[in-house]
Each structure stands twice: as C-alpha cells, then as structure tokens.
C-alpha cells in the first residue's frame, strides 16, 4: 500500500523513435482505486509496464511513497499483477496458485494457510482449493487470478483488463467482487482498461490516455459532467455524447434544425472571443428530455428515425435536420413509447450543455 507518483514520465521506443508515453504526471493516492482508460495504442500498456517495472522508464521518475523506483525490478517494487489471460500455473492446485506469491516471499506455512483461507473465503473459492486450473470455468479461473493478486498487501496491485472478455452473466459478479476486495483489503489498485464502462463502474478516479498523452484525470463525476476536451467527452459514456455545430452570442447559443435555427440557454456566459465563431455543442443522450409536444422553454425538434430497446432503457435516434443534417441519440426509460417517423422535441438543463472550440472544452471544472 503506497502512494505512487509519476513525475514527467516518458517512454520512447528507440526503434523508429516512437513515443509511447509523453510527459505523464499524476499521483495515485494510498488505498485509491484508479483506472487508466484509453483506446488501444494510447499509452496504457506502456504506463502499466513502467509501473510494474517490466519496462524501462525513458525519462522522468516513478516514486513509491516518495522513493524513486526507476532502478528497481518488478519483485523489488513489491507489486501484484492480474492479467486478462489469468496466467495461472496449470500444474499447481488452486490453493498453491494463490499461495505462490506468499511462498515466494518465504512466509511461514501457518501464515500462508491463514492468508489463503481468508482470501478464498472472500472470493468463494473454498470448494475449489484442491482443483487444478484446467478443470475450472473461465469465471472461476478469473477469481483464482484475483485471489492471487489480492492475497498479500503489495505496494501496488495492477489489474490489466481482467473482465472485459467475460460474458455478461459473470461480469456483474466479478465487478462486485473486485470492488469488494479493494474495499476490504485497501490495496492501492490500478485498473487498466479500454472499456469505459469497466472504468466507470469500478474506480474512484480515472486517468484518460490518448495518443501517448494525459487527457484528463478526475473522478467519474468530474469526467462525466465536465470533460476537458472532445475526445474525453466522446470516449466516456455509451451511447456517446452528441455533437452539433453551433454559434454563440453571450449566453445564447444557436443551432440549426429542420424547423429553422433554435436557441438554447448556456450554463454561463461565454467569453466575447467566441462570439460568432463556429463551435460544437455537446449533449449527452442520457441527459436529454424527450417531449411529445413542443415544450415552453428551449428545445430542439427532431424526427425519430430508430428505436432501439435495451431492456431498462430505450435509445432513440433522431435526425435534427437543418444545415447540420445532424443526428442525435437520446436515452429514455423503456416504459415511454414512441413511434418512428414521429417528431419529438429535445431539451437539456443548462448545466448539462457542453461547448467545444475545436477540441477544447469551453466550460471547464
């Protein structure tokens, strides 16, 4: 359990001079659950490998509790790792797989037993301890892999995509178990994933990496309500944020629609330098209200094109038309009934309106 700092960390691959990670600084607090999220090729894996000591740091420093670890190997850093591909020892029983990191540290037999039994209890593995990995289902193997990662309290626990490929019946359970383990054991945990839903579900804070650079770090709520740029706004949330071209005048914003230009009130006045400029309006499908009749306040009309039932919710796709010819998605409760071809009006609270100048968000935290 440690506070982990990355200080201006670079990873440059000498072959082809490729920058894997560019000037990355952030801090993982002691006992925190932090997700590193981004598309593949964004720098997640390089960051993970540098944290684990599996790859050299080209420039900058990584510190555990203030002590630089650049020169330390994986074992000396005292790190636990769980990978997507389980990586269990096939010739060892479940018990021995979990005990392995403890035995490697020459822990006494009685103490090993106590630790293994307590983690087995937490992960419901007690009946499986004598079995071998090859006879276990995928979800069971994943639990063993988690047990091995959480059986001791290392400086840092690194989880690399441990559940993204599991089926939906298992996912909810494994998510709950991982979060429960973290809350019980209070390990400093880093969870690396390309799946925004995983990151959102589990972490206290997330770091978003794209094109080798830090895009934003913050709590889920901060990233959801005030994304730093268009990339983050689009990447986090499913269905993704809607974007429409827009212009502003003071606190009023104008977008085009099939029924002519429409106005929306912004959460705050926009600096004069943006007046008249081509900007991008961002609206989250989850934060739109859909009206069957034109409401009295600001609204945006659209024709309903697609209705996708999702169970608890339904996703509507509307064409807004106008010069932008734009499309919008909106999420409504599945109990609300609509017909394709119907005209509906969308409205959003001012605080849920996002505005971008090129890539940059205008309203920041």
């Amino acid at each position: 359990m440690s506070r982990v700092e990355l200080d201006k960390v670079w990873k440059i691959y000498p072959r082809g001079n490729v920058v894997g990670v560019k000037d990355l600084s952030f801090t993982i607090q002691d006992k925190e659950f932090l997700a590193i999220l981004g598309p593949s090729g964004g720098g997640k894996s390089s960051t993970l490998r540098m944290l684990a000591g599996l790859e050299e740091i080209s420039r900058g420093e990584i510190r555990f509790d203030g002590q630089p670890v650049n020169q330390l190997g994986p074992a000396e850093r005292n790190i636990a790792l769980a990978f997507e591909s389980y990586a269990l020892y096939q010739r060892l029983s479940v018990y021995e797989n979990i005990a392995f990191p403890l035995r490697a540290r020459k822990m006494k037999k009685a103490a090993v037993h106590e630790k293994v039994m307590s983690i087995a209890e937490l992960l419901d593995l007690k009946d499986l301890l004598k079995k071998y990995p090859s006879s276990l289902a995928g979800g069971q193997q994943q639990r063993v892999s988690l047990g091995r990662a959480f059986v001791r309290q290392p400086n840092l626990t690194l989880l690399d995509e441990p559940i993204s490929h599991m089926d939906q019946r298992v996912r909810a359970e494994i998510r709950a178990r991982i979060r429960h383990l973290h809350d019980e054991m209070k390990n400093t945990t880093v969870y690396v994933t390309h799946d925004q839903a995983e990151a959102v579900s589990l972490c206290d804070r997330m770091v978003i990496l794209h094109k080798a650079e830090l895009q934003q770090i913050g709590t889920v709520e901060e990233i959801w309500s005030r994304p730093a740029n268009r990339f983050v706004a689009f990447f986090v949330g499913e269905p993704a944020m809607n974007f429409l071209p827009a212009k502003v005048e003071g606190e009023r914003l104008t977008v085009s629609s099939a029924q002519g230009p429409r106005r929306l009130t912004l959460p705050a006045a926009v600096p004069a330098k943006y007046s008249g400029k081509e900007l991008t309006l961002g609206l989250r499908p989850q934060q739109l209200k859909v009206h069957r009749r034109e409401p009295s306040g600001d609204s945006l009309p659209g024709k309903l094109r697609l209705i996708e039932f999702q169970g608890e919710t339904t996703v509507l796709t509307l064409s807004v038309g106008g010069e932008s010819g734009g499309e919008m998605k909106a999420v409504v409760a599945a109990t609300e009934r609509f017909e394709t071809g119907q005209t509906v009006w969308l409205s959003a609270e001012a605080k849920n309106i996002h505005l971008f100048d090129g890539e940059e968000a205008i309203f920041k935290k």
């Binding site: 289902a137 359970e173 709950a176 429960h180 809350d183 499913e238 999702q310 608890e312 996703v315």
Partner: protein
C-alpha cells in the same frame, strides 16, 4: 424477400441432438433473432436454412416451398459468418463485389453500377477507405465489417447473419447495430440473426427466439423477453446485471404466506402471486421452496425503513454506471443487485452498511427451478 418457415427441424450429429424439433417462422420483412448461450444450436439452425448443413428431420420452407433438397446456391440466401470467410487473395472491393458477379444471380452489372453498389454499402459500414486493401492488412473489426458488407451488398430471399458484429469494439458495435437496424427498415429485409449478446437481440429484433439446448425456450417480442421471461433460464440470460434470482422457503406467518431466504429476509407474497408461487414450488429438505425473480431496477433502497415489507441487508459492494449505481447484496450465498438512478449525484452508501430494501410486488415473479443458482461462475 421470402418468408422462412421451420417445421419441427431436428439435427443429429451422431447421437447428439444439436437442434431438437424447432418450429419457427420468420415473416417477410421481419428481423428475427435466434439468441442463446454458446452451444445451444443457433449456428446449426442458420446453416440448415442456408443449406450448408443437411436437415436430419423436419422441413424448411421459403415462401411455402420446401427447400430441404436444394443446395445452398439454389436457395438464394446471403450469409455473414462470425469467422469472416474472406477471400485472402482478393482486396476488400473484390470481396464485397464477389456476390454481385456470381453468374447464378444474372445481375450483369456494368462496371459503374458495381462500383456504386460496393461503394454505397462500404461507406454505409464505414469501410469506404479500405477498398484497395487485402484482408491480411485489416484488423479483426475491419474484416468483420467487410464480411457484413459482402452479405448485404445483394438482395437475396433472406439474409442470414451469424454474430456479424461480435468482434467489433463496444463503441463500433453500438453504431454498427444502429446501421443494421437502419438497413433492415430501409430495405424491408427478411433477416435471421444469430447472437449471444442480449443487447443486440433486444435492440434489433422484431421478435426473438431464445434457444436452449437445441430447443426454443421462448419466442416473443423483445419487450416480453425482457419483462416476461418464461423461465429462470431466460431471466438470467438477459440484462446486465442479469435478473436477480433467489430460492426461498414458503412459510406461513400470521396467516400469510411468506417467502423466506436467509435469516433477515421474509417477504409476504402479494395475493396475486400466490397461485404462481405455489405452482412453481418444489419440496426440498422437508420444506416448500420457490424461486423468486426480480430485475435490479425494481428493488428500492433507502437508509430508512421504506414499507412494512421492507427488510435490511448489508451492502457487499457498489459499482457505478454512467447515470446509476449498482448495489450488490449477498443473500444465502447468492448475489443480487439493485440499481439506483442518481438524478442528484452519486449514492453515498458504504460497504457493509445496512440498507433497507423494498421489492416492487408488481415486478416480482416466480419460476420453476430449471437452472442451478449455486453453480457459481
């Protein structure tokens, strides 16, 4: 396009019944999904419709005409496989154009017409930039879209799509799903779609057939599959988290029938559900045991007592979603989940904190036991 009818279709591999007496109708212009877990027989059904697998017994009819004895090329179907099956020596353009050039369909398109058709479907699926590339230079997701484009470029009697978007990443999957729905509506296409992903089945289909061990467990519109599953099996397959299922004793207390699971949970059963509960109940360990199902959105949570029937349990874990949180509880060794919408910020419940839970009686249902709950993942 055709109406496709399956009449008591069975497929035996040796003595194994891969498909067991399936009767199914896909109307003209309908989007029908065949949904189920791996190994349920979904792909086998599709292959029998395509004519790639012979039918052991039963009949398949296109527009009332039996096609059992017709080879694949005479059935006029268009198929996309999960495994892509692209021609490795042909570039993307030629792969997509291939069905247009097959002499059998006698399309005899001019060069310009062919370009237009291939370009249209490729752009529609977002692979318009890749036409010159060879399959070996494509990612898995790109190959899958090429395979889908090749299936959609021509208008056959029926489109047979086998997990056609399974290998796309989450974002692309959702957008391609919308495109497919668009395509189906625009061309009034007859589509039979195989998937193990309940989201695709619900979002795309006019009707869904849920397959279990070679047999149809439920055939219904997506809303019914979600809200009125016929069995614990279907409930457990749909939703994330899946439907909560729990076993409990039926006990009489103060003259009322109650459902009791664990020590702290004893729920008076609403009068309207008594019959269905008794019909589903079974004798176990000298008592009467029933299986209760309820979706996570119908469990209310609070720090204070909610109603006379609410009860208390400690929180096992809390995970978040964009606009909601899922609170997990453990009861008699089984996990169950409650979803809390957060109109006003994140929930601040803590692990191990005892919360009051209230089950919405309108959305409780009882099932006979057909799956093991304790078969933990």
């Amino acid at each position: 396009m055709a109406e496709v009818v399956l009449e008591s279709v069975t497929k035996l591999y040796g003595r194994k019944r891969a498909v067991n007496g399936v009767s199914l109708t896909c109307r003209e212009g309908e989007f029908l999904s065949i949904f189920g877990p791996t190994g349920a027989g979904k792909s086998t059904i599709l292959k029998m419709i395509a004519g790639i697998e012979p039918i052991t017994t039963g009949r398949i009819l296109f527009n009332g005409r039996p096609v059992n004895d017709l080879p694949p090329q005479q059935r006029n179907v268009s198929m996309a496989f999960e495994s892509y099956n692209l021609y490795p020596h042909l570039n993307v353009y030629d792969n997509i154009a291939f069905p247009l050039r097959a002499p059998r369909w006698g399309l005899k398109l001019s060069h310009a017409e062919e370009r237009a058709k291939v370009g249209e479907i490729a752009n529609f699926l977002g692979i318009g930039e890749l036409l010159e590339r060879l399959p070996q230079h494509l990612s898995g997701g790109q190959k899958q879209r090429v395979s889908l484009a090749r299936a959609l470029v021509r208008k056959p009697e029926v489109y047979l799509l086998d997990e056609p978007i399974a290998h796309l990443d989450a974002r692309l999957k959702f957008s391609t799903q919308s495109l497919l729905k668009d395509f189906a509506a625009k061309y009034r296409a007859t589509i039979i779609y195989v998937t193990h992903d309940y989201r695709e089945a619900l979002a795309l289909s006019d009707r869904v057939a849920v397959l279990r061990k070679g047999q149809i467990e439920q055939e219904a519109v997506p809303e019914d599959i979600y809200y009125r599953p016929v069995s614990d099996f279907v409930g457990r397959l749909i939703g994330e988290p899946p439907m909560n299922l729990m076993d409990g004793q039926i006990v009489e207390r103060d003259g009322r029938s109650c459902f009791q699971a664990g020590s702290s949970f004893c729920l008076p059963v609403p009068a309207g559900l008594l019959d269905s509960m008794r019909a589903c109940a079974r004798q176990e360990n000298g008592g009467l045991v029933a299986r209760l199902g309820i979706r996570c959105e119908y469990i209310k949570l609070a720090r204070e007592k909610i109603s006379e029937t609410s009860f208390q349990l400690p929180v096992y874990a809390i995970v978040h979603e964009a606009e909601s949180s899922v609170v997990t509880f453990e009861l008699a060794n089984v996990f169950f989940y409650a979803r809390v919408r957060q109109e006003l910020g994140l929930v601040d419940y803590r692990v191990s904190e005892k919360l009051w839970l209230d089950f919405d009686p309108q959305h409780m249902m009882f099932f006979p036991k057909t799956i093991e709950l304790s078969a933990k993942v």
